[in-house]
Amino acid sequence: MSMRLNHLVVSHADSTLVDVGTLDFERGRPVTIVGESGSGKSLLAHAIMGTLPANLTARGSLAMDGQTFDLSDRANRRGLWGRLMSLLPQEPTLALDPTMRAQEQVAEGATSFTTDSSGARRTAGTLLAALGLGHASRAFPHTLSGGMAQRVAFAAATIGGAPVLIADEPSKGLDERARTELAGLLKLHLDGGGILLTITHDLDLARELGGDVLVMKDAHVVEQGCARQVLTEPAHPYTRRLLEAEPANWNHAWARRGAPPEEGGTALVSGEGLSKAFGGQQLFSDLSVTIRAGERVSLGGPSGSGKTTLGNVLLRLLPPDAGYVHHAVALRGGRLQKLYQDPALAFPARVALRDPFGDVIRRHRLEPARLEELMASLGLTPALLNRRPGQVSGGELQRLAIIRAMLLEPALVFADEPTSRLDLITQELTVACLMDQVDRHGCALVLVTHDYALANAVAGRRIPLGVAVTERLVQGAGTPV
């Protein structure tokens, strides 16, 4: 079987959100669409599936096995769901019914479920066991880790035997190890002779999958071709820009890849024999950390490894179970600052940004002109201050958070996954702003990140934290066989 998409146009009122020509899909050859959010790539997937939001209209047609479907009628593909085409959802932890056991959620996807439910349950059990989840088949979703939930969702989406699988941002929120597992799952579908369309902003996932890659920007496909070629020798300027924005390819003055850690600076933060357990899980024990003036350190590890917790212990926001943390005098009076993963939560939510900034300036008797200066140098307009945090984009808000931290000329900035919610290009811009300021003030930086390439591009020294015990949650619920 094969599938062909003809001239798809998705529009909202009078704006065009997707406009692509003809796309061909073959068995066993993955097609991956990359691009930033807002480029229309997710809408393309939903238009094929027939799950577009009601306020959008689609035009075009989809040919499958000699049958042609008009894409403006969103109902004509409902009968194909599960049997011929299936969707692997964005966030598997949200896509599983919280009140239903894993096996049951997989079983109901089987075509025989309405006629032979116990047979469907057996098939589901076998499928879960084959994915290494035999012990979790009776588990409820809240006891599953992100990667395990992904595998359950994969089982539920594929048990009906649909040859066409559409995966919409499947690696959202997954760490590197879980992403590799995910790529393995998707390849499993291809090996069975399936058609795979993956939507992602994650270029590493696109590389791992191979096949064909399409790059989308502003509703159009700007470049397409074999993955190896598009992702190494891009022809379109936008694709080049996208690739350059990957931390591994950064080429900035402040990028100190491979530079040795500075020795001999004053110790700003020193932690001795630190231990911390959380929810019955030992995150780290007898750990000693010293952060010196002017150095750049990254705290790395997969999700759940206790990176953020260690950070908060070092900042003395959280007491350690054992050991102690000493702060140098140089950090007093607000000269230790922190950047947060979600900047929208780091500002008071219900007042205009002008107010918290005004409070900082008044409290520390700063020159108001310094704020304007900093905003101008980070490319932000003063009008942004009249908005509330929720009304400013994530990238701009993170730059405002950088400015707020820098107003006090800190000796140490602690950045907790500051760009993990941002697009590649916005990430590069934001990190550039941060590093520019760090360079200028000569302050020390601790960067918490799960992104090895980013850590490598920014920091001179890396403190790795233990491997996440992904299976711990289910075993904690008490269902080992």
């Binding site: 930033e36 959010s37 306020n55 607000g334 979600d342 939510a349 918290p356 941002l422 697009d423």
Partner: protein, 295 residues
């Protein structure tokens, strides 16, 4: 007190807007509002304003609510007596004006006290922690499980319809809602990254209070107080209706309804007047609420 579900139901866990890239086109169309907005609220506000005026000026215009004149038993409405006279020949409009004033004043006093006590207690508990917090939490645990009407009933048993026991009972039955709401909200806010950042920036407690806590609490407190005034008026009239509220002959809406009930056939205006005032207050306050929710 039934129709008002206040803070006990609500306190939606404060999930702030997610940051990150906006997923604009995939967001479904904004939820349609079923009740047409501003016109209804304008009418509600106008009706409430008229009632407040009536409560303020009425008792001055018709001061003699207690004068009986049995010869004017169930007199029909006229220009001089817009609502006629009751079964004891008393002026209904005078009694209604005094009753409305009493209800509104009691309600405002009770809600004000409950709000002040509950909010202060909650902030002390949230900020100080320790044994104060444990004690206040334990007290609120016990109160939250008690029906407010039961608290008021027990209090009204303390004295025979004295106004101060009713006031104390009503306030005591409501403080816990404000305490729980403010406690839950401020714990969320105080534990959030924004307050943590304010701490690292050394901005001090005034900043936290003014920029973080108060803007977060204000809309909820306004909504709860609006509800609370309705609940208090309703509780007062319910007590009057079952005969254990304000002592006769003091005019009170619920008491007036009970007294008028046997004559509903001969003198319908006598029953309708207090019922209308009561329903208008309740509907008016409810309709104002959607305005609060929108802010």
């Amino acid at each position: 007190m039934a129709p008002f579900d206040t803070g006990r139901t609500g306190v939606e866990t404060g999930k702030p807007a997610q940051g990150g890239p906006p997923a604009l086109p995939l967001v479904p169309a904004a939820r349609r509002r079923l009740v047409p907005g501003t016109a209804v609220q304008g009418v509600a506000a106008a009706l409430l304003a008229v009632l407040v005026l009536f409560a303020l000026i009425g008792p001055l215009a018709w001061p003699d609510h207690a004068v009986q004149d049995l010869s004017r038993f169930l007199e029909a409405p006229s220009l001089a007596e817009p609502l006629g006279r009751d079964h004891l020949g008393r002026s209904v409009v005078a009694r209604l004006a005094h009753a409305t004033q009493l209800s509104l004043m009691m309600a405002i006093a009770c809600v004000g006290t409950a709000l002040l006590v509950g909010t202060t207690g909650a902030l002390i508990a949230a900020w100080r922690g320790g044994s104060i917090e444990t004690a206040l939490n334990g007290l609120s645990e016990a109160f939250i499980a008690l029906p407010a009407l039961l608290v008021i009933l027990i209090f009204s048993a303390l004295a025979n319809g004295d106004l101060w026991t009713l006031y104390a009972g009503l306030a005591l039955s409501q403080w816990v809602e404000y305490f729980r709401m403010v406690r839950a909200r401020s714990a969320l806010v105080l534990a959030g990254p924004a307050v943590e950042a304010a701490g690292l920036l050394r901005l001090g407690p005034v900043h936290v209070m003014r920029r973080h806590l108060w803007p977060d609490l204000r809309p909820l407190l306004t909504t709860m107080a609006t509800f609370g005034i309705g609940s208090s008026i309703l509780a007062l009239s319910t007590l009057g209706f079952v005969g254990i509220g304000v002592r006769p002959p003091t005019p009170e809406l619920g008491l007036m309804i009970t007294e008028a009930f046997p004559y509903y056939h001969e003198a319908p205006w006598m029953s309708l007047a207090p019922v209308l005032v009561l329903s208008t207050i309740l509907i008016g306050l409810l309709s104002l609420r959607s305005k609060e929710a929108r802010q």
